[in-house]
């Protein structure tokens, strides 16, 4: 597993993400956070692992962890189709823009998120949004659950195979009460 940006040219980061060496780190970070959210992008229906779409792994995770989901692009409809109602939906740029506003009170209006998990956005879009958050919301913890290393996140998995990705997501889900 490599901690080089998945897209070779995305190297211009002086402050680079800590590698997530094992999925338990994700679980610990989520449990430590008061107001985590999960942003899910359009690749949630494009990526398949072990015969299942990524979105199905994420529904399992969200149900188990109770982390509120913000769906970007048209993903809200894909969640609803599968019987899961995300906490919110908006464009990827809109959620990024709200997260850099310290006065934004979150999807539920009860407080600014303190941990942002991202997954399934086009790699370059996710990289840019993470960069925006790194620069303009420096107190916010960001973590990508993709199988591609993102230098601009606070925490990122190293580049990993689809099999490793699926295994990681399953382990994370299993560590929450509802995922066992």
């Amino acid at each position: 597993m490599s901690c080089e940006p998945w897209q070779c040219a995305e190297i211009a980061a002086t402050k680079k993400a800590n590698p997530i060496q094992k999925p338990e780190i994700v679980v610990a970070m989520i449990k430590k956070a008061s107001r985590p959210i999960l942003i899910v992008g359009s690749n949630a229906t494009e990526r398949w692992m072990e015969g299942k779409q990524l979105i199905e792994y994420l529904i399992d995770f969200a149900k188990a962890s109770k982390v509120p989901v913000v769906a970007t692009a048209h993903m809200v409809g894909e969640f609803i189709k599968r019987g899961y109602q995300p906490a919110g939906f908006m464009s990827a740029m809109d959620i990024g823009n709200r997260l850099v506003d310290p006065e934004w009170q979150g999807i539920d209006g009860k407080g600014h998120p303190d941990l942002v998990l991202l997954i399934g956005l086009p790699y370059y879009m996710e990289a840019l949004i993470l960069s925006g958050l790194k620069h303009f919301a420096p107190d916010l913890k960001t973590m990508t659950l993709d199988n591609m290393y993102h230098a601009h996140a606070s925490w990122s998995f190293p580049n990993a195979t689809l099999e490793e990705w699926a295994a990681n997501l399953k382990v994370i889900t299993s560590k929450f009460e509802g995922g066992q």
Binding site: W6, A13, T14, S91, M93, D101, M125, G132, P138
Partner: protein, 795 residues
């Protein structure tokens, strides 16, 4: 100048070279002066009676207040591509998370500085293009050649130029003064990016808007000059349908392939070909905007595809001669062409390719050198000589080359794919993240289907090949695997029609401003699509079917015409070419984008009778609040696309870009959750009225075509919509939202002003939403952001 009375000084108009003194009336002891106009440096023949507005030829800061109004509503969201600034030798400076560089700049200002640089490069490119075209056409046709872009159908011939500069150009010579102004502004704009100049991000942004304004003028000048002289379609809704796709090219004939954006060398080729009576015996084809302008000049020229397909066509060996002009030309085009033994002629000072300048050599000597292979590329800066040389070389070399190509055979692909190390570097270098390693693995096992599947999504950049450690020609593998599709590409695209007629504006002005035509969708720009061009076609067809006005230009106009409906018709055959509800009109090449802005400006001028002359702020305010137009640059990649977008931002017109557009690194986003951002003045009363997020954003990346469609419908909403218009717009928004998002929008209460705004068939659903949000009825204002537009309150 002291002799001019103070009240008259407002008529004084200074430009770089000229002093113009205009006196309407003056009584002195010795006589009475009326309508005196004195120019030093130029004879003025200004018959335009429209009064001059407040900002003719605006300086960098003349429209700063207007820009700041927009930038307050639509604040920048920065996503730096790089944590560093590397622009001076103090650096590199790490600007991460609030750190300042050695010059004091922070990352927000640095990010906006990059935006300004991109927009200035774009504006310089279009203006440089315009300068070349105008100088050449003046040399050929003379300064007094009249500007004519649509005969009697177009009296407002240059709406952008009139609006920005206050000049009404009547001849080619008049365009020189306009260009001088643009060139001066671009010089100032570039200077702003120097270390230790501007330091505030919003001031950089304002200047980026100014670059956009200048860019629109530069584009307009280029296009109206070429329309006026080269017999292009003149605002013609029935401009001819042009053959498009390599499948429409008779490759048994010699083929000249022109790549770039500047038609001048191509005119030389086409003229020489006709004069030599070879027009039936040769093919002239083009990629990108040169292709469009070639077909506007000569309707038997052919378009082979967008700019991103250069590699596939050069390697495919179709071209016997490659002629390069300017902008968006692959800088390795020569290296690629030499591999298929196709001579290259560079025809632009801006793109000399390292070739020897042979402009002053006898044409036959150059031809002999190219045909014999003594030299493989030449620089020729005389367009007529380019024509003679290209035609003669194509004719002589075609039988020698025999369409030699640089594509591997299927067996070679299968064999070479076995050397793939599955290192993933190709996929990791691919902007599309295409699953190339899996396709190569399948190819090695004899199955080319996965490689064929990549053909449609590949944008032709060739980065996969550069990354491959065993030097596999991966792009060529993909092209060969998709060769059947490539050779079958044969479609129709409407030739660029140029401007929108004044009469068309009169017909649609009212329904646009009242909202009954639900919007104008301008699908423009380059071909850096996330999943191929089909998305562009689908989006255009969706909105044309919904009776929006759909305007196309550039590579997007090609993609829009590259697919067919169930009856086998392309968009341009299925829908009318008029500026009307349900029309799909291609205005032309990149520089023709000015006509799209021009149409919006003409709605304000012709329909609403607002003065144009140097009256930018008022017209932009009108457009922003009343004209439901949205730009979509689904595959935008270039700096020119940035400056084109910037020109629309400045007019208050929202622009969407596809996912790759996020790499412009700065969005201009409204916040619908902040009601205080959405107040306008009601010009009738002076009261502030909350009009909701209409439009919500000024520059936004959308991730998927589904998101694009929902966003387009929503971004067409304007404060001025009548209840009928709002109801129509909301019904499209809700319908698309339900289809693509599977649910009702959550923000409908922000767009309903009275119950009459609610679409009849959706009353129950709306009522529930409105009740849940404690919605209250409000008024439909006469909206403006400008206090000076408020009329006195009635007693």
């Amino acid at each position: 100048m002291e002799f001019i009375a103070k009240p008259l000084q407002r008529f004084l108009n200074l430009t770089t070279k000229n002093v113009n003194i205009k006196i309407d009336e003056m009584k002195t002891n010795t006589g009475f002066i009326k309508n005196l106009e004195l120019s030093i440096g130029k004879v003025t023949t200004d018959n335009w009676t429209e009064p001059m507005g407040p900002t003719p030829m605006p300086s960098l800061t003349a429209l700063r207040d207007w820009d700041m109004k927009l930038l307050t509503k639509y604040k920048p969201f920065y996503m730096p591509d790089c944590d560093l600034c590397c622009l001076c030798t103090y650096g590199k400076c790490d600007l991460t998370a609030g750190k300042r560089g050695a010059c004091g700049l922070d990352i927000a200002a640095q990010s906006s500085r990059i935006v300004l640089l991109a927009c200035s490069i774009g504006a310089a490119t279009h203006t440089g293009h315009a300068r070349h075209v105008v100088d050449h056409l003046i040399e050929k046709y003379g300064r007094k050649h009249p500007i004519d872009v649509g005969g009697l159908n177009v009296k407002v011939e240059a709406p952008v130029t009139r609006l920005v500069t206050g000049i009404k150009p009547e001849t080619l010579g008049d365009l020189e003064e306009v260009l001088e102004y643009c060139e001066m502004q671009i010089t100032h704009l570039l200077s702003v990016a120097h270390t230790g100049q501007e330091g505030n991000n919003l001031d950089f942004e304002s200047k980026a808007f100014h670059a956009g304004r200048i860019d629109q003028v530069g584009m307009e000048v280029a296009d109206i000059a070429q329309i006026s002289t080269l017999n292009f379609p003149k605002a013609d809704p029935e401009a001819p349908l042009i053959k498009m796709g390599i499948g429409s090219v008779d490759t048994s004939k010699p083929v000249i392939m022109c790549i770039g954006h500047n038609v001048v060398p191509s005119v030389g080729i086409i003229d020489y070909m006709k004069e030599s009576k070879l027009d039936d015996k040769m093919e002239v084809v083009g990629l990108c905007c040169t292709a469009f302008d070639n077909t506007r000049y000569y309707n038997r020229a052919k378009i082979v595809g967008p700019i991103s397909w250069q590699l596939r066509f050069i390697r495919g060996g179709f071209a016997d001669v490659v002629v390069l002009d300017e902008q968006c030309v692959r800088t390795d085009a020569f290296d690629e062409a030499r591999k298929v033994r196709a001579p290259v002629i560079a025809a632009s000072e801006k793109n000399c390719m390292g070739f020897k300048n042979r402009t002053n050599d006898p044409a036959d000597e150059i031809v002999a050198d190219l045909v014999s292979g003594k030299v493989l590329g030449v620089l020729i800066l005389d367009p007529e000589k380019v024509g003679e040389v290209a035609v003669k070389v194509a004719k002589q070399i075609a039988p020698i080359r025999k369409k030699m190509n640089n594509l591997p055979t299927i067996d070679e692909i299968k064999s070479l794919a076995k050397t793939c190390r599955q290192c993933n570097l190709c996929q990791r270098s691919c902007p599309q993240d295409l699953q190339i390693p899996a396709a190569l693995k399948a190819a090695a096992e004899g199955n080319l289907a996965p490689l064929t599947d990549l053909y449609e999504e590949c944008i032709g950049c060739g980065r996969c090949e550069e990354a491959c450690p065993v030097k596999l020609q991966i792009h060529s593998f993909i092209v060969k695997a998709g060769e059947k599709f490539m050779l079958e590409e044969s479609n129709l695209c409407r030739a660029g029609r140029g401007a929108v007629q004044d009469v068309e504006i009169r017909n649609v002005g009212s329904p646009i401003v009242l909202g009954e035509i639900p919007g104008i969708l301008a699908v423009v720009g380059c071909a850096n699509y996330p999943h191929g061009g089909k998305d562009v076609y689908d989006i255009c067809r969706e909105f044309a079917s919904r009776r929006f006005i759909v305007v196309t230009s550039g590579c997007s106009a090609m993609s829009a015409g590259s697919y067919k409906n169930e009856e086998g018709k392309t968009l341009y055959e299925e829908f009318s070419g008029g500026f009307e509800a349900g029309g799909v009109l291609n205005v032309g090449s990149c520089v023709a984008n000015a006509h799209i802005a021009g149409a919006a400006i003409k709605v304000a001028n012709i329909f609403a009778k607002r003065n144009l002359r140097g009256n930018y702020e008022e017209i932009a305010d009108y457009i922003h609040n009343r004209v439901g137009a949205v730009g979509l640059a689904w595959g935008a990649y270039s700096q020119k696309a940035a400056s084109i977008a910037s020109g629309f931002w400045s007019l208050g017109v929202p622009v969407l870009v596809g996912p790759h557009g996020s790499k412009y690194r700065r969005m201009l986003l409204g916040r619908e959750d902040k009601p205080e951002d959405w107040e306008v003045y009601d010009a009738r009363t002076g009261n502030k009225v909350n009009v909701g997020p209409s439009p919500e954003h000024l520059f936004q990346t959308v991730e998927t075509p589904q998101e694009a469609m929902v966003s387009i419908a929503k971004l067409c909403i304007r404060p001025n919509d009548t209840w009928k218009g709002r109801s129509i717009k909301l019904s499209h928004y809700v319908d698309l939202h339900k289809r693509h998002y599977g649910c009702m929008p959550l923000d409908l209460h922000l767009f309903v002003r009275t119950m009459a705004d609610v679409p009849m068939t959706m009353k129950d659903e709306f009522t529930k939403i409105l009740e849940a949000h404690d919605w209250k009825e409000t008024v439909i204002p006469d909206p403006t952001l400008l206090p000076r537009m408020i009329r006195k309150m009635k007693e």
